[in-house]
């Protein structure tokens, strides 16, 4: 894994500025190419249902290139134009991105996709669908930035949520470029049982040894859940470390052509105040 080609998802500037900022930050840090994939939502789109009245739909149709999607696009372009030409822009209609799954083609040609995590706002459903598609379908890692995030560092202090499963191993491997630049990396296990579920006799140690071989200095913290959910315990750990990033497996189960979220993944993607680096 290298970090040379970063894709940021932008639907509405208001909501997605954190993702664009995070992408700009990483692109500067790793001298990476950055692309903003702007997903246009027309007033007639199902994704605009909650914000567009019928009269708006008609007005939007009449306005054509001056309509809702075009205005939002212009706003995003204006923001991007202040980033010293760092971003390439690509434009897609959200229905093409999701129903025809074109967003995946873009993500599969990037090293990392960055998006703002869904928040209870007008674009919640759109964000959720994009998140779902990217996490389970792209084969590449996803950086999920909390709404309103205003950090200026993503790799100084990193918390690894380690449950010794396939997805977590995946995420750690994908996050190596970030882990190598970190000053402080903590491997956190929650209520881990030695010799169980993939853990060795000393949970977290095998991974620590492996990461040290990559020149990453780590500490292991075997956290007692104390009745908290694993997600809550992880969020508390992240807060205690003042972590800039949580690296974790993104879990889901395929059920009848649909992906169901794993519990910890669901909870963190809804509530974490720390950016999440996830792979499936």
């Amino acid at each position: 894994m290298s970090l040379k080609d970063i894709l940021a998802i932008a639907i509405r500037l208001e909501a997605d500025e954190p993702a664009l900022r995070a992408a700009a930050l990483l692109s500067a840090q790793f001298e990476a190419h950055a692309t903003a994939l702007v997903l246009g939502v027309h007033a007639s789109s199902d994704y605009a249902e909650s914000i567009a009245k019928l009269s708006d739909v008609l007005a939007d149709l009449a306005q054509g290139s001056r309509g809702m999607a075009a205005r939002e696009h212009a706003r995003i372009e204006e923001w991007l134009s202040r980033q010293h030409g760092r971003f390439e822009t690509r434009k897609l209609v959200i229905e093409d991105a999701l129903l025809r799954r074109e967003v995946l083609a873009h993500a599969r040609h990037a090293d990392l996709a960055v998006m703002t995590r869904p928040a209870p706002d007008a674009m919640q459903e759109a964000h959720e669908h994009v998140l779902h598609a990217l996490l389970f379908g792209s084969g590449r890692p996803l950086l999920l930035v909390p709404p309103g995030w205003n950090g200026n560092n993503l790799s100084d202090r990193i918390l690894i949520a380690w449950d010794a499963k396939r997805e977590a191993a995946r995420a750690v491997a994908d996050a190596l470029p970030l882990l190598r630049t970190a000053r402080d990396v903590v491997i956190a296990t929650i209520d881990a049982i030695p010799e169980d579920g993939g853990h060795g006799p000393t949970p977290g140690k095998d991974l620590a040894v492996h990461l040290e071989r990559h020149g990453v200095d780590v500490r292991v913290n075997n956290v007692d859940g104390m009745g908290r959910t694993a997600a809550a315990a992880l969020m508390d750990e992240a807060a205690a470390l003042d972590a800039n990033l949580i690296v974790m497996g993104g879990y889901g189960h395929a059920r009848a052509r649909e992906w169901l979220w794993g519990g910890v993944t669901r909870e963190l993607t809804e509530y974490a105040r720390t950016p999440l680096f996830m792979s499936h």
Binding site: K4, D5, A105, H109, D111, R166, A169, G249, A254
Partner: protein, 280 residues
């Protein structure tokens, strides 16, 4: 950045010489740790019709198995001593039915797992189980080496099989350490249909552009299947390019609680004359 931490899963010092030799090639290419993981198959318990174990017979079976394993281990240790670089020999005792899951746990702490191609070797079932477990369960790539491999380097000339799918994207990212060191890289598509959501309007061009951003120069070869099966086309294409490594997605479908190999994956894993790097 090369692979650092390599695990070779072995069953026999003689039959798995190619896997070990490929591991040594990784050490020469910059890896710092190579573990030869010798799988010890625990014999299946023998029961009488009443459900009572015949202890004398069982003791004999166990003693026989132990003796066989001790011989293999001695042979492997002797072989590893002759190596230019230190190789750690580890034992992995597995009960039948758990070989895949146990090997996967082990593989999660390595950058890449190496195996000799199972087809045609002794203990085929167990080998195949380990291959399946590591491919689908470790989250890390697997390098399958043909039983007659006699190379001193893996990945001088690399063919990447590209179909635009998640697994191929995964494999491509996981192959980064090898691609970075390769002399020549070819992206190969087979009977590609230009499409926006798959291989792109000019099949292979988008992924070549992505690799260019990672500093890799590649050529794109759009192969015509000419009615052959995809595995044969890919092998012929790799031969024509004089490749010494094929990188491809490792496909599987979920069936009840297990994952079964996809057709192309199975056939490449059975007959590829070149080392294969696969990720799922």
């Amino acid at each position: 950045m090369s692979f650092k931490d390599v695990a070779a899963f072995m069953f026999s010092a003689a039959e798995d010489e190619p896997a070990l030799a490929a591991g040594e090639a990784m050490l020469r290419a910059g890896a710092t740790n190579l573990a030869a993981v010798l799988v010890e198959l625990q014999p299946d318990p023998v029961y009488t019709m009443e459900g009572v174990m015949v202890s004398a017979m069982w003791a004999e079976v166990v003693a026989e198995a132990r003796k066989g394993f001790a011989q293999e281990k001695a042979a492997l240790e002797a072989r590893c001593k002759k190596s230019d670089s230190p190789i750690a020999v580890r034992e992995l005792p597995v009960a039948s039915g758990f070989a895949g899951a146990d090997a996967a746990v082990h593989a999660r702490h390595a950058d890449v797992s190496i195996m000799t191609r199972p087809a045609g070797l002794k203990a085929f079932e167990a080998r195949n189980a380990v291959f399946e477990g590591v491919l689908f369960g470790s989250g890390r790539p697997v390098l399958l080496v043909p039983p007659d491999w006699r190379g001193d380097r893996v990945g001088r000339r690399v063919v990447v099989a590209w179909n635009g799918k998640r697994e191929a994207a995964r494999a491509l990212a996981d192959a980064t350490p090898l691609l970075d060191q390769a002399d020549e890289i070819a992206i190969v598509t087979i009977d590609a249909k230009p499409s926006i959501e798959g291989v792109g309007p000019a099949p292979g061009a988008d992924i070549a552009a992505h690799l260019a951003r990672r500093g890799l120069k590649v050529q794109v070869r759009n192969l015509d299947g000419l009615g052959r099966d995809d595995a044969d086309t890919l092998i012929a294409g790799a031969r024509a390019f004089d490749a010494d490594l094929i990188v491809m997605g490792g496909y599987g479908r979920a069936r009840l609680s297990e994952v079964v190999f996809g057709g192309m994956t199975r056939s490449m894993a059975t007959k590829s004359p070149l080392p294969l790097l696969m990720s799922h």
